[in-house]
């Protein structure tokens, strides 16, 4: 063997040994959403590039939230990467539970992350989670039914237009409901919709002294408008409908309009699952002329818990999964309509992606939501469809239960608002805010 060959062999051996020594097995907790499942299927690409193996723990969203909260608050170290949302990230970052993502590589191009997403996933200007995909909410509507009703959907409609259009599109004999909206109890279900809607009616959860605001006219207007419109043009039992129930109704052609997460656009336009795939249009969530629209902002993001021993490998994975290259990889394998949306500016500059019918409206919706200034009157919290304080999930779940009871006719809107006001103030007092 020549000296040159010997050197080559030694180098190869060294590289192999080194990569074997540092190859880790990462445990990643995630949710069962389409984009996440796609990522799991492409993990081999990451392993091939880095040598690190990945073990997935996929759980239903609420189970995942409880599971990762238990682990991170006890520094259990069961996971090396967690999939968390815009609600948890700033709170956990402030608690010192997450590793700051302040040493991302130059190739990663952190400046390419949509500012709304980066802002919602940061605390005090430090990024604590990288957005895997982002979403807002928008109107998805049936173009054929809109035409039949003799109406034309504006790009940025008002609530009044939506109510009138819903009434015009409703055809009870043919099981067509003019509008489908979430009513299900739960802060991330009906609670998210009504909070985002309340922003456009000039309502807010708290004043600057953390006093509950459910006794204001703006909240009464929000709930009365919602209930009036849904009673007249919504599906039966709407008080228990969440995302999946409405998706099912829309895909079967039983909704004229549906205001919900922008990720639903790819479901309702997929001819394999949707019977109305070829007649769906999109518009911005409605407003009331007060300067705020009824759309929310959310991101599923990847974060590294402070308890992990595999920080370097975890960071490598996050850089891989939320990179521009990953988007290209998905596009090559599954088409541009299936790439994770709403995270990077460059995606929306890509001519291939611009051809996707809902791409521009998704971006416009994301850009029109501002988590740092979500209400008409000033509020002390960050977040559009939530207030980023640890107590919010518990309080909002109870409040949304009261609202759902009002939608179902078990109590009046006034009673629901009175109870919401009392329970929120009690909880905020117990937590020391008031």
């Amino acid at each position: 063997m020549s000296l040159k060959n010997a050197l080559r062999a030694a180098t190869a051996l060294t590289v192999l040994t080194t990569s074997a020594t540092f190859a880790e097995t990462l445990t990643i907790a995630t949710v069962n959403n389409g984009d996440m499942i796609r990522m799991q299927g492409l993990t081999d690409d990451f392993t091939a590039k880095t040598g690190h193996e990945v073990e997935w723990v996929t759980l239903e969203e609420n189970v995942l939230r409880q599971r990762v909260t238990t682990d991170i608050s006890t520094k259990g170290g069961a996971f090396d990467i967690m999939t968390i949302g815009m609600y948890e990230t700033p709170i956990w970052g402030a608690n010192g539970w997450l590793v700051p993502l302040d040493n991302l590589s130059e190739d990663y191009d952190v400046a390419d992350i949509l500012p709304a997403m980066a802002g919602g996933l940061s605390h005090d200007g430090t990024l604590y989670a990288a957005p895997f995909y982002g979403e807002s909410s928008m109107i998805m509507y049936r173009t054929d039914l809109m035409e039949k009703a003799g109406l034309e959907m504006p790009d940025a409609p008002s609530w009044e237009f939506i109510r009138d259009a819903a009434a015009a599109m409703t055809d009870r004999e043919n099981e067509i409901n003019g509008i489908c909206l979430r009513g299900k109890a739960g802060w991330g279900e009906g609670g998210a919709l009504i909070t985002a809607m309340s922003n456009s009616f000039g309502a807010r959860w708290f004043d600057m002294d953390w006093n509950a605001q459910f006794d204001t006219e703006a909240w009464a207007n929000t709930l009365n408008f919602y209930k009036g419109m849904m009673d007249a043009s919504g599906p039966a039992g709407y008080a228990t409908n969440g995302f999946n129930e409405n998706l099912s109704l829309f895909q079967q052609g039983k909704c004229g309009m549906w205001i919900d997460a922008t990720v639903a656009a790819s479901f309702v336009t997929n001819p394999n699952d949707s019977t109305v795939a070829d007649s769906v249009g999109f518009a911005l969530a409605p407003d009331n002329g007060l300067g705020k629209r009824a759309n929310w902002l959310w991101a599923w993001a990847l974060a590294i818990p402070a308890g992990t021993q595999k920080q370097d490998a975890a960071l490598q994975f996050i850089e891989w999964a939320t990179s521009k290259d990953y988007i290209e990889l998905v596009a090559a394998k599954e088409g541009w309509a299936n790439v994770p949306p709403g995270a990077r500016i460059s995606l929306y500059e890509n001519p291939n992606y611009q051809e996707v019918p809902f791409a521009q409206m998704t971006l416009d919706s994301i850009l029109s939501a501002d988590p740092n200034n979500s209400t008409v009157e000033p509020s002390p919290y960050v977040g559009v469809q939530f207030a980023a304080i640890p107590e919010f999930a518990g309080i909002a779940t109870e409040v949304s239960q009261e609202f759902s009871a009002a939608y179902a006719g078990q109590q009046t809107v006034e009673e629901a608002l009175e109870k919401a006001q009392a329970l929120t103030n009690d909880a905020m007092e117990a937590a020391g805010y008031r």
């Binding site: 445990t27 907790a29 949710v31 069962n32 959403n33 389409g34 499942i37 799991q40 299927g41 073990e55 997935w56 723990v57 996929t58 759980l59 239903e60 969203e61 609420n62 189970v63 409880q66 599971r67 238990t70 682990d71 006890t74 520094k75 259990g76 170290g77 069961a78 996971f79 991330g188 279900e189 969440g242 995302f243 999946n244 998706l247 099912s248 895909q251 079967q252 039983k254 997460a261 990720v263 479901f267 394999n272 699952d273 019977t275």
Partner: protein, 276 residues
């Protein structure tokens, strides 16, 4: 004297029993049927019962996405191990309560049962911290211990009830013939209580197999059993009912088969001593 049952009465009783049985079984049947539908058919309104294009696609997707064998193996070890350990501890405990009771035996039994009234989430953090400290997080051994402790009151109660039905004189006779305590329990008591022990084992395997709070909260990737396998197919943002049904069918199939083949023992054990 037994009352005569007319053929009409018998037919009505049989029909009513079948109706109740089918009603109870219907959710499982619906899950199994849904697992053979496409996602679009799964959400069809009105629902389709049998007239659909049957497909095995969901099972293929589930098998490709998840390591079913590992989840199944973990379930077998956790459910079997916790039940076995529970029986080993509960047989002597139930023997002493049934045959040499003290003044406090009934109180102890009630206290044991009262531990079942505590909501599990109330002790999640203490147990989680203990598991971290002892290195038991995401281990099958840790779950065997926890599930054994959770089901121990039921095991002791069931065995105590069966043992109470066995005449104490038989054990006395064995003692008079020179049997030691160990021989009395192993060679005399246990064989006589086999139907009761068998049904206790079966019931506890079912309880441990289906336990979904601790098995989800104390595991990650390595020790997760079939409950975690099912949970991985549930999603509030996306319609995956057919795949979820396929995963559920695969998770409950082993325990359904076990229950089907051991139904005779299960019924005889559960009705042991009911009719004297």
């Amino acid at each position: 004297m037994a009352r005569a049952v007319t053929p009409q009465r018998k037919a009505i009783n049989t029909a009513a029993a079948w109706a109740v049985g089918l009603l109870i079984f219907f959710p499982i049947l619906w899950t199994i049927l849904t697992s053979f539908k496409t996602e679009a058919t799964a959400i069809a309104d009105p629902p389709v019962f049998l007239a659909f294009d049957w497909t095995l696609e969901n099972y293929g997707v589930v098998m490709e996405r998840s390591n079913y064998g590992r989840f199944l193996w973990n379930s077998i070890i956790i459910a079997g191990g916790s039940t076995l350990l529970g029986i080993i501890i509960a047989v002597p405990a139930a023997w002493s309560m049934a045959f040499v009771p003290s003044k406090r035996t009934k109180d102890i039994l009630m206290w044991m049962l009262s531990t079942k009234m505590l909501p599990a989430v109330g002790v999640l953090y203490p147990i989680y911290l203990l598991f971290i400290k002892m290195g038991l997080l995401d281990t099958k051994f840790g779950l065997v211990i926890v599930l054994m402790l959770i089901n121990l009151p039921i095991i002791v109660w069931m065995l105590y009830t069966y043992f109470k039905e066995i005449p104490g004189e038989i054990l006395e006779a064995a003692r008079m013939d020179g049997a030691s305590l160990k021989e009395e329990v192993i060679h005399i008591l246990t064989p006589m209580a086999v139907p009761g022990i068998a049904s206790t084992i079966l019931l506890n395997v079912i309880l441990a197999w289906n336990e979904a709070f601790w098995t989800l909260n104390l595991t990650a990737a390595k020790a997760a059993p079939l409950t975690a396998f099912i949970a991985s197919y549930s999603s509030p943002e996306g319609l995956f009912y057919a795949k979820l049904s396929a995963a559920s069918t695969m998770a409950i199939a082993p325990i359904l088969i076990l229950g089907w083949f051991s139904q005779k023992q299960l019924v005889s054990g559960l009705t042991f001593g009911a009719v004297k």
